[in-house]
C-alpha cells in the first residue's frame, strides 16, 4: 500500500483515508484540494498538472517524515493527481490520523502548506482567455532564501 502517491487517475478519497486508520487513531483530518473555476476575474476552463513523479513521491514521503517528527503518533497518506483536471475534480487528498483531533487538524494543514513549497508539481491554468504555468509564467518569481524553507 503506497502512502505517498502521484497518480494520473481520479482520486478515491476513501482509499486515502483507509490507509491511515488503525486501532490507535482517534481522529482523521482530511484535506481535499479541488479545481476552482474563478480566480479573481479569471475563469478557469480546466487545469493541467505536471510532476517530476519519482522526486515528487519522495518529497511527499519527506513531508510524512516531517509530520512524524512534529506529531510522533501521526500517520499520513497523500495522493496528488496529475494530467488534465476539470472544475471540481480532486487534485490532492491528504489524510492524517492521530490519537486526538488537535494534532490531526494541525498536521493536515502542515502537509498542504509543505506541498506548495517543496514538491515538484506544476499547475497550468487554462483560462477562457489564455493559459499560464502558475507561479513562474513571468520567470520573475524567486525564493527569497534562494530555496524553499526547509530545503537545504
Amino acid at each position: 500500500m503506497k502512502l505517498y502517491n502521484i497518480t494520473s487517475e481520479p482520486i478515491n478519497n476513501q482509499d486515502v483515508i483507509d490507509k491511515v486508520i488503525h486501532h490507535n487513531s482517534g481522529a482523521v483530518s482530511v484535506f481535499i484540494g479541488t479545481v476552482r473555476e474563478m480566480t479573481d476575474e479569471k475563469k478557469t476552463r480546466y487545469l493541467e498538472y505536471e510532476a517530476y513523479v519519482p522526486m515528487a513521491e519522495k518529497q511527499l514521503e519527506k513531508i510524512g517524515e516531517e509530520i512524524k517528527v512534529k506529531w510522533p503518533d501521526a500517520k499520513t497518506a497523500i495522493t496528488h493527481r496529475i494530467g488534465t483536471l476539470q472544475i471540481s475534480d480532486t487534485a490532492v487528498t491528504i489524510a492524517v490520523s492521530t490519537p486526538h483531533r488537535q494534532d490531526a487538524f494541525e498536521a493536515s494543514r502542515y502537509a498542504i502548506e509543505r506541498i506548495k513549497e517543496i514538491v515538484p508539481i506544476w499547475k497550468k491554468e487554462h483560462y477562457t482567455d489564455g493559459e499560464e504555468w502558475v507561479g513562474n509564467q513571468k520567470g520573475t518569481e524567486s525564493y527569497p532564501l534562494g530555496h524553499p524553507e526547509g530545503v537545504e
Binding site: 515528487a56 487534485a91 506541498i115 514538491v119 515538484p120 506544476w122 499547475k123 502558475v134 525564493y143
Partner: protein, 79 residues
Amino acid sequence: MVQILLFASLAQQAGTQKVSLDINDPVSVEQIRSKLQVKIGELKGLETALIALNEEYVGLTDEVKDGDTVAFIPPVSGG
C-alpha cells in the same frame, strides 16, 4: 552523459523535457546550467529555478558526474 530534465515553463520554452550533455570530468551544478544555456539558448526562469541532482535538491557547487540526472525545478504550484 548527463541527463537534464526540464519542467513546466522551462520545458515549454525549450520545446523538450529532456536534454543530454556530454561531460568528460565532473563539473559543478552551476557549470551544467551554463552548458545547458549554451546548448539550447536562454530560458526565462532558469537562473531562479531550484536544482535537483538525482532527485534531491542541491546547491550550485555540488558536483555532477557522468550518468547523473539534473532537474531544473521552477517554482512549484501543486495542491
